[in-house]
């Protein structure tokens, strides 16, 4: 039996799924190793969500403060992740990020400069020293464009606007992927010796999110259904500052860079409420008063950071509390004020526009607010998932041989909470590692034939919605799922509400089987939404089930019924896998052991 002629078949050594920062970096590395590489992007090349990253990429280069180094960065990352991180990954990340930044410069990236002509670094939440290499507030664009423009000359084959719907396997090993192209709706089979997942996040599982339509957890679901394990899925980062008004832009990101440049948070009474609640782990790193906080922003090495630059999980909860207590802004947020720095520096308007140009335009054009003279209204928005495919810390390979993952779709680096700026560096550090090891795997293993029967069965399921005259509207199901996740598995969680969410998810899963699609297969967003829906349901279930079983509050997870951190829960990660009967199995996996050397680094930095 062979594949019908209607399938378009491609053959590569390494197939990279996703073309944001991690995917492109992996593809570049694998190409450099001399293997044949294919890259699949869900959108056009260069439009992936990486483009939205604003503040910068964390790398302990010490250009602005020479006390910085890999050990401080490592300790900051572990502290921010509440020590659930994989220490091996945190070590790779802290040690290798500076070289990855310099490499971007060698490929044409143009970072903002220090006065003596080196790469400038800025302050960010949870980072002890100014550490984020940046380009104004459009660092993600610089990163993706640099990788794209370098990558297209390295010999990789790029498939734009194509979506993978299933990984293919034989003999326990991954041997390719099945997908479709948006333009014509044709089916494609990619044969590959190794596959790198670099599909990004899951934000679209929630109603209020900074993510685009693409953030539907495709890679998480592909890996899960192929037998890989998902870890830390309960940890979803709600970025503290998303836009709240007008309604159509609710959730849109407001960079932490605003706070890094001196922006402060106030409630409706004008109080800087962040001073009211400083966690113990950070008490000796936070400014005593507003004056010291401003000195920190200005670069005074003896000053501590303002409390607005605490970790995102904490800031988001504080904002949420102010809003719930009735001290919010008119449209249900709090106030973020950068305009106030006019009291401190001359020409503050020009300064703000230079440091935060996209924020200036975003507010001006979409909300009619001039941030150089007016306060912004902001509130938490679903931004990032710390959880993802469980991978080996040195190679990024999952428990499925030949299947690798890097970037947001992989778990491990960030633990219970990610520090701002650690994502862009994550992409390039682990994109490179994944590409390198996927290429190695491809060289060491021969190709395995795909099974046409497997492809036929999976394709038939995709085409069913067209056969139905009447049925469910995929947009309506997606919207109901988003409401359930937002309301019941959001910033503040309880057992009862999450059980209700599971009930809704189970119900929606049944209804999703009865989706009907009008029109034909060419560029049909209704059909695409129906397909993405399956991924969102899988991801949502794993978030809710993991969150139910972590009976404590830690990092991004806050349980109203277990409001304290529990030492007994500091020893494991939650892991989901698909059991033999197809149901989701959740278990507790002991944390990987930490080398004595790394333990002593953490102690030293406490």
């Amino acid at each position: 039996m062979s594949l019908p002629d209607s399938f378009i078949v491609h053959e590569h050594d390494v197939l990279v799924i996703g073309a944001g920062g991690a995917g492109l970096r992996a593809a570049i590395e694998a190409s450099a190793a001399g293997v044949k590489v294919g890259v699949i992007c869900k959108s056009l090349l260069g439009k992936a969500h990486t483009v939205m990253a604003e503040g910068g990429m964390a790398a302990a280069m010490g250009n602005v403060d020479d006390r910085d180094g890999w050990e401080v960065h490592f300790a900051d990352t572990m502290r921010g992740g509440q020590y659930l991180n994989n220490p091996v990954m945190a070590e790779h990340h802290a040690k290798e990020a500076p070289a990855r930044v310099r490499e971007l410069e060698a490929w044409g990236a143009v970072f903002d400069r220090t006065k003596d002509g080196r790469i400038l670094q800025r302050n960010f939440g949870g980072h002890r020293y100014p550490r984020l290499a940046h380009v104004g507030d459009r660092t993600g664009l610089e990163l993706i464009r640099t990788l794209q423009d370098h990558g297209i000359h390295q010999g990789m084959e790029v498939f734009m606007e194509m979506t993978v719907v299933s990984l293919l396997k034989s003999g326990g090993r991954v041997n390719g992927a099945l997908g479709y192209d948006r333009e014509r709706g044709r089916m494609h089979v990619w044969k590959a010796k190794a596959v790198v997942l670099a599909t990004g996040g899951i934000g679209k599982a929630f109603r209020i999110t900074s993510n685009s339509w693409e953030g539907t957890g495709d890679g998480h679901a592909l890996a899960y259904h192929a037998g890989a394990e998902l870890m830390d899925m309960e940890f979803v980062q709600f970025h503290p500052t998303g836009m709240v008004w007008p309604p159509s832009v609710r959730g849109l990101l407001v960079t932490e860079g605003v706070r890094g440049e001196g922006g402060v948070l106030r409630n409706s009474e004008g109080r800087r409420f962040m001073f009211d609640d400083v966690p113990d782990a950070y008490r000796n790193q936070v400014a005593k008063d507003e004056e010291e906080g401003w000195r920190y922003v200005c670069g005074d090495k003896n000053a501590n950071r303002p409390p607005e630059l605490l970790t995102r999980d904490h800031v988001a909860r504080c904002i949420n509390r102010e809003i719930k207590a009735g001290r919010g802004s008119p449209h249900g947020g709090v106030f973020l004020d950068i305009a106030w720095i006019k009291e401190k520096i001359p020409n503050s308007s020009a300064h703000i526009q230079r440091k935060l140009p996209s924020m200036y335009h975003q507010f001006k054009q979409l909300a009619g607010v001039d941030i150089t003279s007016e306060r912004m209204e902001v509130g938490p928005t679903t931004h990032y998932v710390m959880g993802g495919v469980l991978v080996d810390g040195d190679t990024q390979e999952s428990c499925v041989p030949g299947l690798f993952a890097a970037g947001e779709v992989a778990a491990g680096l960030h633990g219970a909470n990610r520090l701002g700026g650690n994502s862009l560096s994550d992409l390039v550090v682990f994109g490179k590692l994944a590409g390198e090891h996927a290429a190695k795997f491809a060289k060491a293993n021969r190709a395995i034939e795909i099974d046409p029967a497997e492809v036929a069965a999976k394709t038939a399921a995709l085409e069913e919605p067209f056969a139905r005259r009447t049925g469910e509207n995929p947009y309506a199901i997606q919207s109901q799922l988003q409401d359930a996740m937002q309301d019941l598995v959001g910033i503040v969680r309880t057992h009862g509400e999450m059980e209700r969410a599971i009930g809704i998810i189970e119900d929606l899963k049944q209804r999703a089987k009865n989706v009907a699609i009008s029109g034909h297969r060419e560029f049909n967003p209704g059909w695409h939404t129906a397909i993405d829906l399956g991924c969102l349901l899988t991801v949502s279930e794993s978030i809710a089930r993991s969150a139910i079983d972590r009976k404590e509050s830690r990092g991004a997870q806050f349980r109203d019924d277990f409001p304290q951190k529990d030492d007994a829960c500091s020893t494991f990660n939650m892991v989901c896998r698909k059991s033999a009967d197809g149901s989701m199995e959740v278990s507790r996996r002991p944390l990987p052991a930490m080398r004595a050397e790394l333990k002593s680094v953490i102690e030293k930095m406490k």
């Binding site: 959108s43 056009l44 090349l45 260069g46 439009k47 992936a48 969500h49 483009v51 939205m52 070289a99 310099r102 060698a106 490929w107 044409g108 143009v110 903002d112 400069r113 006065k115 002509g117 080196r118 380009v135 104004g136 459009r138 664009l141 610089e142 464009r145 423009d149 370098h150 297209i152 000359h153 734009m160 333009e183 685009s212 339509w213 008004w245 007008p246 309604p247 159509s248 832009v249 849109l252 008119p330 449209h331 249900g332 996209s358 335009h361 975003q362 054009q365 979409l366 909300a367 947009y475 919207s479 409401d483 699609i517 009008s518 029109g519 060419e522 560029f523 049909n524 967003p525 209704g526």
Partner: protein
């Protein structure tokens, strides 16, 4: 689903707006009318999404970030090339229907989606960045901010291709084989002005990339959503370099003796 604002008890005015959206494919198409309930602060892309969710599930449209950062949702709104996500409804005339059609300089795929692959092919044609040797042992260079300001301005480009859409050399004269368009003239300029770059792309600009076709009407600059000075800061300086290299008698003489 109640909107978040109405949950807070804030009244929002709603009005009904008539949309005329181009529906069709490679073989042709026509405008279809839809009525949309528009609330305060909505942008054109919101309306398109509302039509898609309620009235036409299969309406094809490209979009990603919804924040003017990715350059996916380019279209012609009331005849003007714009990003749908950054065009507020209250900035459009209220007394007539809003027309939305795809970029007309590129072949249609379906509805608002066009085939922009030509742009990706043009980019590959341009010689990539080639830096000089690093200044320092750790692989880094010294570059001053004032020396990179201009390059950073040009690198703000989000590749929405609205400048390509509006350029009459492409739109009216279809010189796609001989002219790379403002986006890639600017891309070349950013490489040429990069303080570390050692490659020479001036001859290519003059010959296969057709910079001479641009007659500086500045239409590209006018539609740029990033407000980049495409004409003044990128194309004109490149034209000057072409003139210096190919038409200046002294330079031509010098070129004969210059070691390549």
């Amino acid at each position: 689903m109640a909107s978040p604002a109405s949950q807070n008890g804030i009244h929002e005015s709603t009005r009904t707006v008539e949309f005329r959206v181009w529906r069709g494919d490679r073989s042709g198409g026509a405008f279809t009318s839809y009525s949309v309930q528009v609330t305060q602060g909505m942008v054109v892309l919101d309306c398109i999404h509302r039509i898609q969710a309620d009235q036409a599930n299969d309406l094809a449209v490209r979009w990603n970030c919804k924040a003017g950062k990715c350059g996916s949702c380019s279209a012609e709104i009331n005849g003007h090339p714009k990003l749908m996500c950054m065009t507020r409804m209250d900035a459009l005339p209220a007394d007539r229907p809003v027309t939305v059609e795809p970029m007309r300089s590129f072949p249609s795929i379906r509805d608002l989606v066009t085939d922009v692959s030509w742009n990706f092919r043009m980019k590959r044609r341009i010689k990539p960045f080639k830096p000089r040797k690093p200044d320092h042992a750790d692989g880094s260079w010294t570059m001053m901010q004032e020396d990179v300001d201009r390059v950073q301005e040009l690198r703000k480009c989000i590749e929405c291709f609205l400048c390509q859409d509006v350029c009459h050399v492409l739109r009216d004269h279809h010189k796609h084989d001989e002219f790379i368009g403002p986006r890639f003239l600017m891309y070349t300029a950013a490489l040429e002005m990069h303080p570390l770059d050692t490659e020479d792309r001036i001859a290519d600009l003059k010959q296969e990339n057709g910079i001479g076709y641009c007659n500086i009407t500045k239409c590209c600059t006018k539609v740029c959503p990033e407000h980049i000075g495409i004409t003044d800061n990128a194309i004109i300086p490149m034209k000057e370099r072409v003139v210096d290299e190919f038409y200046d008698p002294l330079t031509r003489l010098f070129r004969i003796f210059k070691p390549r």
